[in-house]
Amino acid sequence: MDLATLATCLSSSACIVTQSTGGLIIGMLLFLVAAGLTLIFGVLKVVNFTHGSFYMLGAYFALTIYQLTGSYTLTILGAGAATAIVALVFERLFISRVYGQNVLMQLLVCYGFVLIFDDLVKIIWGVEFKSMGMPPAFQVPPLFIAGGLVPPFYLFVVGVALVIGLTLWLVIERTRLGKTVRAAAYNPSMVAALGINTGYLYGLVFALGGLLAGFAGALAAPVRSLTPGMGFSILIESFIVTVIGGMGSIVGAFVAALAIGLIRSFGSLGFPLFTDGLMYLFMALVLIARPTGLFGKEIA
Amino acid sequence: MLAVEGLSKSFGGVAAMQNVTLDFAAGSLTAIIGPNGAGKTTFFNLISGAMRPDRGSVKLAGEDIGGLSPTQIVRRGIARAFQIANIFPSLTVEAILTATVQAHLGYSERITRRFPLPECRDRAFEVMTMLGLSDKAALLSSSLSHGDQKLLDIGLALVLEPRVLLLDEPTAGMGPEERWQMIAKVQELWERQKMTLVFIEHDMDIVFKIAQSIRVLCYGRVLAEGSPSEIRGNPEVIAAYLGTSQETRNQESRSQETRGL
């Protein structure tokens, strides 16, 4: 433990800024993945263990598209779209067959695909880890904000993530589609009763989840090393996020993701050896206090 | 036998039960009626410990049982059956009843012997005969007809040899003659068991046929209480309740189901 460092940091605005942006970037990428996860659970009641793989695919797609086009904007959009398509196909062809079945059965299908996707990546892109490299536009020195260091790229990432998150929220809260989605989350039979094609809706939700994960992957690609199985750690973390936030709650995912991000960045100062432990501890505490997560609906 | 005083409960500021005071004489057969959202089910939930009352007392034979856990209340002799039959889908009728008996006798955590304990099994069969489910003993409860499921559900409550039995719409979702068979059964059981029986019912014909006395709830308040004849003549009741049609009642009962516990 190293509480002194933490204390001195909390007393310096520079440190707080730097650490917070650090936490923010971790949190935002987590949020993008977790949002899809929680959305899918909320609507389809499916615990999508393949979501980490979507993130991985997003990153690898980004790598390829960037190598081909050299345009990062195209890369992000392309990676998102491609992943969305994969997700859609995955849902239509496989997950849709296990709706309403034992949760464990769905979990099994997902697990199967985690393994398959990892090996496919291995076959297509190779076992060795890759790095996409920073787009030239962002190869600039970090900015100083209130004495804290803030890399422009991270500003960009956080910005994009926020925009995506906001759009998502607006779509869910304001649009007709969003209403349907919420209705479906509340009571599927009702949606069916309203004469809405649930198959179409579910496919859409899955694709949306894939899109978000794909974006996350593309945004992470320039700074994280790409390896088969890279989806895994983020999967676990985003599960922690969704559970803390309350399965099915986008807002919850957002709050929890930020919390986890900050816990990581400040925790690494105070408890350098226990940053992961902190995360699980936090989750345990939340669940003990609120058995269905921060924003989770009470299942009576 | 059972008496509630000043019972109040509200959900998020919405009062579901306001200062309700009622009592049910030992061995009486009472019907609770009331329109949509009258708080009938809430009333049962409060008595059976599914919900804690905000204010007010629940007394069973003079003992205050307000705020006790469902298990504790069951042990004190209040059993209930549910609006929607909540049977254990993957178990057979026999197993369910036997397991319930063993719970009643305090054997449910026995690990020294094998299931079924003969004494429990025998009792289970008695109940089955009483209910007329003997020939269905080996069936999965989930494969029973709706009526039989409700019957079994009531049977489970009976196994506990309750002093007070709460039935939430024993005839909900049944066809006409099924209803009458059911209600006849209920009446028969009541006579045999010498217990205090309180039931929620929508079918006025049934209510007026078998209930000794009736309590009318409306928007969480006691609107009226008295003998069937008194209630029949009560203008408020007629205004508030008897106007509504059977369909809406069914919908209403369903909407309450979805609320669940």
């Binding site: 460092t5 940091c9 440190c15 730097t18 650490q19 942006t21 650090g22 936490g23 970037i25 971790i26 990428l29 090996d119 291995k122 076992v127 060795e128 880890f129 890759k130 790095s131 996409m132 490299g133 920073m134 962002f138 190869q139 020195p141 970090p142 260091l149 890399p151 422009p152 790229f153 991270y154 992470a220 320039p222 700074v223 994280r224 090393s225 790409l226 390896t227 088969p228 199985g229 890279m230 750690s233 983020i234 990581r264 960045s265 925790g267 690494s268 100062l269 350098p272 050896l273 940053t275 992961d276 | -």
Partner: protein, 420 residues
């Protein structure tokens, strides 16, 4: 109907695999070990998951060398047959596989090409079965240094943490003196290798240059995808110099993420595992002037033999060898030499002659490498530090470590640890 068909299909597949397994289990050969018969060498390594690349390169190197040995007549006249299995990096699997390699595949020699925890698992198997076992990847010093773990039948044919630390420490201390770097910080993966190496490295830096003080530590998890919290912590601590033994994809991610904080302009960085082709070729815009130890590079030792070996490997597998590759190649070199000397392929006899065996090697500091008798671990291999440049040969100004000094300090270190 369709359902029924599904069942049938599936039952069939199941029966197949079941049958296959029962054959594999029951018909386990009680191998007759006649001299003229070919000899099986079992190798468990990591062919899937994060480290797959290193495992694959280990396999490549071994196969490449085996070809030569077999072409030259094999081990004392017996052709070598490699049986290579994937442990997926799980120690219990490594243990299981090693047992299976011996018990059901009839392997007579084991090569343990596992990372540290796997190596210790295989070491226990070696203790149990008494097979000749060559550890080719685990650099954790205690594996060979700790007498409690010593086995007559187990050898370590790879670099060793403490050696790296002594050389790196001496090198870093020199740089620190000239550039007057006193405030140091460390960033290493939070597992045994990371902790031990970092601790020892810094202790030697201090030993050679007492002015140096460690002002902060960060311990990212192994395979952690994001180092932001680590980087910001470094920026808070504002050290003059940074040591890290992050490796593989982790070090490249760290470099990529450090770049956007312009970290390497501000801090003199010593990354022992940077100078390995896996990292050097993967990382985009590799910053100039990062100090690194040699893991494997074609130009160090700068001999025709070494270059030739690297080119041969590259020609065969069209990628550069890794650190694990040269270590596993050396294992085969030692086996071949030992077999010649003992004129036998029998594990016990080989183990006997391997103690203290010195062979010519492209990877030797002075053209030779030796399996030191006392603790049966490799010494004399090329070890040195240099600085990175963004293009081939990626690393320049290599300063070779002084083995005389290494051995002296290693002996002291062992005393300090009560190993000797």
């Amino acid at each position: 109907m369709t359902h029924a068909r599904r069942n049938r299909i599936d039952r069939r597949t199941l029966l197949k695999s079941a049958a296959a397994s029962t054959v594999g289990l029951l018909a386990a050969p009680m191998v007759a070990r006649s001299e003229n018969k070919s000899i099986k060498i079992g190798m468990s390594t990591i062919l899937s998951g994060r480290v797959a690349q290193l495992g694959t390169s280990s396999r490549n190197a071994v196969m490449m060398e085996i070809e030569k040995v077999n072409a030259a007549g094999g081990l004392a006249g017996r052709q070598i047959e490699m049986v290579i299995r994937d442990s997926k990096g799980q120690p219990q699997e490594a243990a299981r596989l090693s047992r299976e390699l011996v018990n059901s595949d009839g392997c007579e020699i084991l090569i343990d090409a596992e990372a540290s925890s796997g190596a210790f698992a295989v070491h226990e198997v070696a203790r149990d079965l008494g097979m000749l076992t060559l550890h080719t990847n685990s650099e954790t010093s205690s594996l060979s240094a700790d007498p409690k773990l010593h086995l007559p039948n187990a050898f370590r044919v790879c670099r060793q943490g403490v050696h790296d630390c002594i050389v790196g420490g001496a090198y870093a201390a020199k740089v620190a003196k000239t550039k007057n770097l006193t405030k140091w910080m460390t960033t290493s993966p939070d597992y045994a290798y990371g902790r031990d190496t970092t601790g020892e490295y810094m202790s030697y830096v201090k030993y050679f240059n007492p002015d140096v003080e460690v002002v902060g530590e960060a311990w990212p998890k192994l395979f952690q995808p994001d180092y932001t919290e680590v980087l910001t912590k470094i920026l808070q601590t504002k050290p003059q110099a940074l040591y890290s033994c992050l490796w593989g994809g982790d070090v490249t991610a760290f470099i990529d993420q450090g770049n956007i904080y312009a970290l390497f302009g501000q801090v003199e960085t010593f990354a022992v595992n940077m100078a390995d082709y896996t990292a050097l070729t993967a990382v985009k815009n590799l910053p100039k002037g990062i100090h690194s130890g040699n893991r494997y590079i074609k130009t160090f030792p700068n001999t025709p033999e070494n270059a030739a070996w690297a080119d041969a490997y590259r020609a065969k597998y069209n990628e550069y060898p890794t650190n694990w590759a040269w270590e596993n190649a050396s294992a085969i070199h030692f086996l071949a030499a030992a077999a010649k000397k003992a004129n036998s392929a029998d594990g016990a006899k080989l183990a006997e002659v391997m103690k203290g065996l010195t062979i010519a090697s492209p990877f030797g500091a002075d053209g030779n490498i030796t399996l030191r008798a006392e603790d049966q671990t490799m010494v004399g291999y090329a070890i040195g530090w240099g600085t990175t440049i963004s293009t081939e040969p990626y690393v320049t100004d290599m300063t070779a470590g002084d083995w005389k000094q290494i051995l002296e300090l290693e002996a002291e270190w062992k005393k300090k640890k009560n190993y000797a």
